[in-house]
């Protein structure tokens, strides 16, 4: 029952991924810039033969359809080709090198957003129009109206330059990088008992994480609050009280569980936006992750790298939605596959 549900969903993902890869491929090949020129830019005068050799080496002399087919068949086995702008290093390895930073930042922002939004949404819903609710609602409105890049700069100025509380760029203080186990600096530091490295990593994550998390926290909080208000009026909540359950259980178990159901979709949507917001934030904070990699790669017309990054983003988004669907079925027995 569950396996059919999941496998059906997974099959639906494939056309989406294909569509995305096609669009990227198309777009990159329509760009007038010639990757070979980029590569040879600094090399001075080169002969036409060298240009042709390079082109054929990278398979750029074949037709569009062939190139796309080659790309697909290789991608299926994990080979994303070699990067034009990184001296022919395999794309896969470049990505493997830069992803942990982005994964860590995204994960941090995700958790931060939920930790802020869920309690706030619940507490706000307990007394609508009360003091807390008003503050939360206004904050949320501001949260969705903030331009991320600007918030980043303002926080940089305030906490980095004026108060000197937090660092404004990079992942970790120079020379403090912990042993690599998972690739996530803070986690690795924790695992190796390296307290100073842990704090340094955490401090570096704070500002970019906060900026990334803000719009998501705002939207999730609003959705949860509204959902909770509706749920708290339901008969089963009153019945739970009539059973003599403590109020914390009534709200935290009976009400919240049902209120989370519609909130999942928003969480999934917003997490998807975290991925794209990443690129701007990484640029603002000079955070060495995939986002910055992508921005640079497009500038250099590095097709394989761009393709791979886009596929990763799209794949994550699609898996996220799958996760949301599954979570939906877990929380709401009425939609489960029977």
């Amino acid at each position: 029952m569950w396996s059919r549900f999941i496998s059906r969903r997974v099959l639906q993902l494939i056309p989406v991924l294909l569509g995305v890869s096609f669009i990227v491929f198309l777009t990159m090949h329509l760009t007038p810039g010639d990757p070979v020129e980029h590569m040879l830019g600094q090399a001075g005068r080169v002969s036409q033969q060298q240009v042709d050799e390079l082109r054929s080496y990278y398979g750029l002399d074949r037709s569009f359809a062939v190139q796309y087919w080659v790309f697909l068949s290789h991608a299926a086995s994990g080979d994303f080709g070699i990067s034009y702008s990184h001296q022919g290093r395999p794309v896969a390895s470049i990505i493997r090198e830069r992803s942990p930073a982005t994964i860590e930042l995204t994960l941090f922002a995700f958790l931060l957003a939920l930790v802020l939004a869920i309690p706030a949404g619940v507490i706000a819903s307990l007394r609508p129009q009360g003091a807390f609710d008003r503050i939360a609602t206004v904050s949320a409105l501001i949260g969705i109206s903030l331009p991320g890049f600007w918030l980043g700069i303002v926080l940089m100025i305030l906490f980095g330059l004026r108060l000197h509380w937090l660092p404004i760029s990079g992942r970790i203080a120079l020379g403090m990088a912990p042993e690599t186990i998972t690739g996530l600096a803070a986690v690795d530091a924790l695992l190796t008992g390296n307290a100073p490295a842990f704090w340094s990593a955490l401090r570096h994550l704070t500002l970019p994480g906060l900026v990334l998390a803000a719009p998501m926290a705002a939207m999730v909080m609003r959705m949860l609050r509204s959902s909770m208000i509706g749920v708290l009026e339901q008969d089963y909540v009153q019945f739970a009280r009539a059973k003599g359950l403590p109020e914390t259980m009534v709200v935290g178990k009976h009400a919240l569980r049902n209120a989370l159901i519609p909130t999942i979709n928003i969480v999934a949507l917003q997490t998807g936006l975290l991925l794209s917001g990443n690129m701007i934030i990484e640029t603002v904070f000079r955070y060495p992750g995939l986002g910055k990699l992508a921005v640079d790669a497009i500038g250099a017309a590095d097709y394989p790298l761009v393709q791979a990054v886009v596929l990763i983003y799209a794949g994550s988004y699609v898996l996220l939605n799958l996760g949301a669907d599954i979570l939906h079925a877990v929380l709401d027995p009425t939609v489960r596959p029977t």
């Binding site: 089963y236 019945f239 009539a242 059973k243 003599g244 359950l245 403590p246 259980m249 027995p333 009425t334």
Partner: protein
């Protein structure tokens, strides 16, 4: 009042804040329930019977508020108890069954979860023992294959079964008092009888006292010992069921009884009660039923009659019966 009172409500007053002013849904309600008795609280929609029940359990939520009165349960005033104490009381000493079992059971949890959490919170049983007890309860309520049913979700059950589950949850911790708020209104007629029979049976086997809220006089006559008739937030008549239905004293009760069609007597006309219920934000100065009462006098319109105590334990709030009263009951009119 008399000894053996399990529950004694005096002068209960519950208000709701509306943009037009305070709506007094329960205005000076007094009633008493003896141990082992079934008291029916009767009235049309909107007369305040559900709010009375919620007030007894202190489940009235904002913008509603209990503003006056006493609710003596086993010698203690519930309105003076702390929230913690009330929470411990609910479900374990006083339990409530609601009208629509589909909306009252949480759709996200299995029956097992919903039954055993009561047992756990009130320290009756835990873990495996709780599960076993839940199965016993379901079986006692007449639910087939109880141990499989335990893992079902509310939406997988029929209406009748859901109501049985709700009753099972209500009696799971052996309460003394059960308040049933229109337990059969959402069910069809055959199920109504089954559920009422079930209630009668558990009352017997578990020694429950029941407050039965209903607008159905048929259920009142078949299943209750005493009845209190409510109109516009007040109790207008209280008596044993046989007296009330056989010889109604208050004009409103008369009107209600007159609305019942008689089987086999198609010639007897059904006399509806003219008019509509009063505005509870600005209620009439005098008797609330006076505008619709065929026997109202000027005195009725000018001032509110008090509760008159009559023989055979009857109480009527009507000037017509002033002469037969034993003594004024002295209850405030809120």
């Amino acid at each position: 009042m008399t000894e053996g009172s399990l529950l004694k409500v005096s002068g209960l007053r519950t208000e709701f804040a509306t943009y037009r002013g305070a709506l007094v849904a329960v205005d000076g309600v007094s009633l008493a329930l003896r141990r082992g008795e079934t008291l029916a609280l009767v009235g049309e929609s909107g007369c305040g019977k559900s709010v009375t029940a919620l007030s007894v359990m202190r489940l009235v939520r904002r913008p509603g508020r209990i503003t006056a009165g006493k609710v003596m349960f086993e010698g203690q005033d519930l309105l003076r108890r702390t929230r913690r104490e009330m929470q411990r009381l609910r479900g374990s000493r006083i339990a409530m069954v609601f009208q629509d079992p589909l909306s009252t059971l949480n759709p996200a949890f299995t029956l097992e979860t919903q039954i055993s959490e009561s047992l756990r919170v009130h320290r009756v049983a835990r873990g495996r023992e709780a599960r076993e007890r839940s199965v016993e309860l379901l079986a006692a309520m007449g639910i087939p294959s109880p141990s499989e049913r335990l893992h079902s979700y509310p939406h997988e059950l029929s209406g009748g079964m859901r109501q049985r589950v709700m009753i099972a949850i209500a009696v799971s911790c052996s309460p003394d008092l059960l308040i049933a708020d229109e337990p059969t209104t959402a069910l069809d007629v055959t199920l109504q009888v089954q559920i009422m029979d079930l209630l009668a049976e558990i009352k017997r086997t578990r020694g429950l006292s029941i407050i039965l809220i209903t607008h159905d006089l048929g259920i009142v006559s078949q299943f209750s010992d005493r009845a209190a008739v409510m109109y516009a937030g007040r109790i207008v008549e209280q008596a044993s069921v046989s007296e009330l239905l056989g010889r109604p004293l208050h004009p409103y009760t008369e009107g209600l009884v007159g609305c019942i069609p008689r089987l086999g007597r198609p010639d007897v006309p059904i006399t509806p009660i003219e008019g509509t219920v009063p505005d509870l934000v600005r209620p009439p100065v005098g008797c609330r039923f006076a505008p619709r009462c065929p026997r109202a006098t000027d005195r009725c319109v000018a001032s509110e009659p008090p509760d008159y105590r009559l023989e055979s334990d009857r109480i009527v709030r009507c000037y017509l019966h002033e002469k037969s009263s034993l003594a004024s009951s002295g209850e405030e009119t809120g």
